[in-house]
């Protein structure tokens, strides 16, 4: 009888734990959607609406599309984003990357940029990722101040090499995508 009670008790606890975890996850998810995702969607929707309805969309299309539709152009975008002076300025919250990504998406949707360039473009607009956050990121990893001093320029210089390289790798990996 005691054994049976124990068993029931253990099953009850396990099920309770799983249900609790699921419920808490749902709560966290809704929280994330309301705090992070919906506000950014509102912001992006406003920008897309404005660029589609005014002439800005066409203006940007005329300049961005010829760059983003070939490898040298994408390399140029990636080098600009990876410049050690610019990259920490372009980084915060990935806002610039998200806006440029959305603009390029609109161009792909309208047929100005071929869809197989979506993959290299994803890397061309992102060599600055996290460049604004290096000291904080290293502090989260409990790095010494001397490490931070060297780590910041080390990462920034590394991006100048690996940024364009990532575009080339992505271009090679995009063979057979949407074609």
């Amino acid at each position: 009888m005691n054994a049976l009670n124990n068993l029931l008790n253990r099953i009850g606890r396990a099920v309770g734990g799983v249900v609790g975890a699921l419920y808490q996850s749902g709560r966290d998810t809704i929280d994330t959607v309301i705090r992070n995702i919906l506000p950014f969607m509102a912001f992006i929707a406003l920008i897309i609406g404005i660029i589609q309805k005014t002439g800005i969309g066409k203006f940007i299309a005329d300049r961005l599309a010829p760059l983003a539709d070939n490898v040298p152009g994408l390399l140029l975008i990636s080098i600009v984003c990876a410049l050690p002076v610019l990259s920490p300025l372009l980084g915060p919250g990935a806002v610039i990357a998200q806006i440029v990504g959305t603009l390029l998406g609109v161009q792909i949707g309208q047929g100005h940029i071929r869809p197989q360039y979506a993959l290299p473009a994803l890397f061309a607009i992102d060599p600055q990722v996290g460049c604004d956050f290096i000291p904080v990121g290293l502090a989260l990893g409990e790095a010494e101040p001397e490490t931070v001093e060297i780590g910041v320029p080390a990462v920034l210089f590394s991006r100048l090499l690996t940024g364009p390289l990532s575009v080339i790798i992505a271009y090679l990996a995009s063979f057979g995508l949407y074609s």
């Binding site: 699921l22 996850s25 966290d28 998810t29 994330t32 959607v33 995702i37 919906l38 969607m41 992006i44 406003l46 897309i48 609406g49 589609q52 309805k53 990935a94 990357a97 998200q98 806006i99 440029v100 990504g101 959305t102 603009l103 998406g105 609109v106 792909i108 949707g109 309208q110 869809p115 979506a118 993959l119 994803l122 890397f123 607009i125 992102d126 990722v129 996290g130 290096i134 990121g137 290293l138 989260l140 990893g141 790095a143 001397e146 490490t147 060297i150 910041v152 320029p153 080390a154 990462v155 210089f157 590394s158 690996t162 390289l165 990532s166 790798i169 992505a170 990996a173 995009s174 949407y178």
Partner: protein, 200 residues
């Protein structure tokens, strides 16, 4: 006069009507799937327990060529997947000082490539991928192929980035150590040589 003003008003409201259509499209097209997926992955992470990847961090800190893929490929992926942006960078605490910038570089470079398949890892920065993916979707093309390729090219890139940044960090630390040696014992030109140090 009135006709002109009327046309301006229509154009003005038109801007926001277009934005509203885009918003509805994003909310109905992306949010439902995202909510269910985020709930599932969040629950999975809670049930597994993110503290279990701590051991992985300890193993990845070992010296030796065979631990490079662990340090700049497996560990950044697990850290970003389980701890998400920005807590993923706390995994750097298990590593040697000279490897920390490289680990940060690898981990932070993965917070966008992962969002194509696992949006829970960085829900505030989805539009790097979603912005471009939406254009592809408008053409009626499937997104799975793009998401998978973004993911694995991301893995290749973070691995290269980890190695390159670690090399640069070592060279810079070597130079600094040399400079300090020279300063400390200025008459002795034959200071301690660092194996990785470049020529100053």
């Amino acid at each position: 006069m009135n006709a002109t003003l009327g046309r301006w008003a229509t154009d003005f409201i038109g801007l926001f009507q277009a934005g509203g259509m885009v918003f509805v499209g994003l909310v109905t097209g992306i949010i439902p799937l995202l909510i269910v997926l985020l709930t599932a992955v969040n629950a999975l992470i809670k049930l597994i327990g993110p503290e279990r990847i701590d051991r992985m961090g300890e193993i990845a800190s070992r010296p030796g060529l065979q631990y490079y893929p662990l340090r700049y490929l497996v560990l950044p992926f697990l850290a970003v997947f389980f701890l998400t942006n920005p807590m993923a960078y706390t995994m750097g605490r298990f590593l040697e000082e000279r490897d920390k910038p490289a680990f940060y570089d690898a981990a932070v470079s993965f917070v966008h490539p992962i969002t194509g398949l696992f949006p829970h890892a960085n829900p505030a920065e989805l539009f790097v991928y979603l912005g471009i993916a939406n254009g592809v979707k408008q053409l009626g093309l499937p997104l799975g192929d793009l998401a998978v390729r973004y993911f694995y090219v991301g893995l290749i890139v973070i691995f290269i980035r980890g190695i390159v940044t670690e090399t640069i960090t070592r060279i810079m630390m070597g130079r600094r150590a040399e400079a300090e040696d020279v300063n400390a014992e200025s008459p002795a030109p034959t200071g301690r040589t660092t194996p990785e140090g470049g020529t100053a």
